[in-house]
């Protein structure tokens, strides 16, 4: 019996889809069977981030409406074993899917896969309710900005109201240079404000943009800082105890030594 994890944020543009793609791919690379569901009906994107946009035949709405069997709609990623994508519909209205239907679909998929990763749409309306309906646990993505943190707080409240307790946080696009200047909230600041456990911190890294351009998630490039961060997140999801790297180090002497040995990032 697998686990259904929804990746959500409230605010748009903070990196839900990128995180979903990387977590899904990372879990598949670690030998798990994974299905990624793009729940953002009407604005599908996970397919293009994954580089699978040319292979879509059926979508989530087709499955829910019974136009095809779910296995027909799953796109197998040829690069990674055991990784599948269930794409969102692009042309249909998001209200055609109900939370009950999503729940049923998740129950079915977790019989077969180790992990079902749901990429939740932005907002707190129907699309959000559909995406969380079948989830066993939730990951909240935010960036260290006031708007994103505020929306994350709202989402955490809504998740708990829907009995998805103890969601975990991914702090995305952290800029170390700005943190050092005191111009960006740190991991500890965000943790204190949201009172939530941190699943991982992803530094702002151009590798993410480059890999998205190519349709290859950054987690496949472990030489990059973002790739390493996603790798750590994936292994924490699998239950490994990997400490969160301390990015808040203000001690110039130690940071210089760390720089010399290229550690700590």
């Amino acid at each position: 019996m697998g686990e259904v994890i929804v990746i959500t944020s409230g605010k748009g543009g903070v990196g839900k889809t990128t995180n979903s793609a990387n977590i899904g791919t990372g879990l598949a690379l670690a030998g798990k069977s994974v299905v990624l569901i793009d729940a953002d009906i009407g604005l599908r994107n996970l397919d293009v981030v994954m580089g699978l946009e040319n292979r879509i035949v059926y979508d989530l709405v087709d499955v829910v409406e019974g136009n095809c069997r779910y296995k027909q709609a799953l796109i197998k990623d040829k690069r990674y074993p055991n990784l599948c994508l269930l794409p969102a519909a692009q042309t249909k209205d998001k209200d055609v899917v109900s939370p009950e239907q999503m729940q049923k679909l998740c129950e079915m998929l977790k019989e077969e896969f180790d992990y079902v990763i749901i990429d939740c749409p932005a907002g707190i309306e129907q699309g959000f309710r559909n995406a969380i309906a079948g989830a066993d646990r939730a990951i909240v993505v935010t960036t260290p900005e006031v708007s994103a943190v505020r929306d994350a707080d709202r989402i955490i409240g809504l998740l708990e109201a829907n009995e998805l307790n103890n969601p975990m946080l991914i702090l995305n696009r952290l800029r170390l240079d700005m943190v050092k200047r005191g111009d960006m909230m740190t991991i500890d600041d965000v943790k204190e404000i949201l009172a939530i456990d941190i699943l991982g911190v992803v530094p702002d890294d151009e590798v993410v943009v480059i890999s998205t351009n190519r349709g290859e998630p950054a987690v496949t490039n472990l030489n990059s800082r973002a790739g390493q961060a996603f790798y750590n997140i994936v292994h924490r999801i699998m239950g490994e105890n990997i400490p969160i790297a301390n990015f808040d180090d203000n001690n110039k002497f130690i940071s210089k030594i760390k720089k010399m040995f290229r550690i700590g990032a």
Binding site: V146, V149, R150, D153, G157, D183, M184, T186, E192, I193
Partner: protein, 91 residues
């Protein structure tokens, strides 16, 4: 820290943090300005029975204040109510 840091503005991340903390208190309490306004009117009515207060200057807000002897802070309802005249209660 050098001498000039004393005259500098606080780091922007601290400003962000303080603003967020305040806005989240309101969000979490689901306390809209509308509700706060109703609360304010009710308080005015009750207090006016006993004392003359300056309705214009009355100020009510939710803020955070530290609990004594602990680092934790609690949400508090702060009301600043200027009294014009203490009314004698005639019973």
């Amino acid at each position: 820290m050098n001498l000039f840091d004393f005259f500098r503005k606080p780091p922007s991340k601290d400003v962000a943090k303080d603003r967020l903390k305040l806005v989240l208190i309101h969000d979490r309490a689901n306390c809209s300005t509308e509700i706060l306004e109703m609360l304010k009117n009710d308080i005015i009515q009750v207090i006016s029975k006993y004392v003359d207060i300056d309705n214009e200057q009355l100020d009510i807000q939710i803020s955070q204040s530290p609990t004594p002897g602990s680092k934790e802070s609690v949400s508090t309802l702060c009301a600043n109510i200027p009294i014009k005249n203490i009314r004698k209660v005639t019973s």
